[in-house]
Symmetry: C2
Subunit: 213 residues, 2 copies
DNA sequence: TATAGTTTGTGAAGGAATTCACAAGCCATG
DNA sequence: CATGGCTTGTGAATTCCTTCACAAACTATA
């Protein structure tokens, strides 16, 4: 099978969100046109995206909402539970740890770590903040699948390397640095500064450029 | 001037972060090679990105770090202060409002809004949570440049439309829905669910695909 | 001033992602 | 069961983005 573009996977995620909504509203069938409108893209793009993984629709009718939802969840690997650790119990780490949406979507937060002795031992819900010094041993023992990095930028690279050395293969990085890691580790970046700067650029050059999504 | 790709603007942001670092460390000159290594790209890409905006380097030498930093800040529109409102005083809104990094980078949070009467009136730092019902009037009066949306998904579209009707032209959306807005409004999405699902996909199809950035 | 060693800036080539456009297939109706 | 109206699935065309490759320009050294 061909390599699937990152942009395609992102869109599948968007389609899935809207499909889940539609299913709970009792919708039976959805066209690529509808999916496109709600996903901010074109119907051709929707059909192309789905076609990489199979043939899910009926010509003249559209896609069966419930079945397509299940298929997308399978494709994205959401049919299983993922074990997640959060590294950094600062503002954002705390907000994420307490956000129940993750758990609902199959992302199970099993531990939170911090370097600050004053934070270690404190509790949120059923989680106790652990000492970052134990992270390698814990990762080896508990085999989490994904780490969410919410440490200061200066520490991100070092911490990431420790996680990778302990066997972690997927990182969601909130620190505003580009992590340099082996190619077999998947990294996604969430960079608020970058997004704001993108808006700043767009506002500044509004005349020069057309619209953007 | 040609339309600049979104991906280019994102990379400028990354270059800038590293350049600022370098300048404070006393670095005089940086090559496209160095910039590329730290930005997770290639030297040709760096040179191409910069070339859209002018000629900043010296052949045989590289780029003067301080000057290039200034130029990038200008290009990205960071030479001015931006007025930012946060809509939604939940977990994430709170974390963002208290995060001082924004202010330091020229993004000034001037107000926070929420629909919950119990939250309205409470204070963080020098900010008082305002009632969402006042948001249109306030936006018209205070003319913020950017809105950060951290409301529940169900409300995001409606709230966004109200903001746009009041004249806002740039939105950073944290809700997991694709906003449908006029083309002259710039929207950036931060979608944690999507990023996690991207990791899930990568872990699930590790064999099928190569590495990803 | 000449030469060796770098590194930029940029057309041209190549590759990747999106859009076009239409045949194939399905449903509903009479 | 034939016809009209839709909508999918997909090669081909197109547009967009990245990489290549090299002349031009700079520094350092002798």
């Amino acid at each position: 099978m061909k390599r699937i573009a990152d942009s395609t996977v992102r869109r599948l995620s968007v389609y899935l969100r809207f499909l889940e909504d539609s299913v709970t509203r009792g919708v039976q069938t959805i066209s690529s046109e509808e999916l496109a409108r709600r996903g901010g893209t074109t119907s051709a793009q929707v059909r192309k995206d789905l076609s990489f993984f199979g043939s899910f629709g009926k010509r003249g009718l559209g896609y069966p909402a419930a079945e397509l939802t299940t298929s997308l969840r399978d494709i994205l690997g959401l049919d299983k539970e993922w074990r997640v650790v959060i590294i950094g119990a600062g503002k954002i780490g705390t907000a994420l740890a307490q956000y129940h949406g993750f758990r609902q979507r199959g992302f199970n937060i099993i531990a939170v770590y911090d370097a600050d002795a004053r934070k270690v031992g404190s509790k949120w819900d059923d989680l106790v903040v652990r000492d970052i010094r134990d992270v390698e041993a814990d990762v080896r023992a508990e085999q989490p699948d994904i780490a969410v990095l919410t440490v200061p930028g200066e520490e991100a690279q070092t911490v990431a390397e420790r996680l990778v050395a302990a066997g972690l293969k997927a990182i969601l990085n909130f620190a505003p640095v580009q992590l340099q890691l082996p190619a077999d580790v998947t990294v996604r970046h969430v960079n608020m500064a970058m997004e704001l700067e993108g808006l700043s650029y767009a506002l500044t050059n509004r005349d020069r450029n057309g619209e953007m999504s």
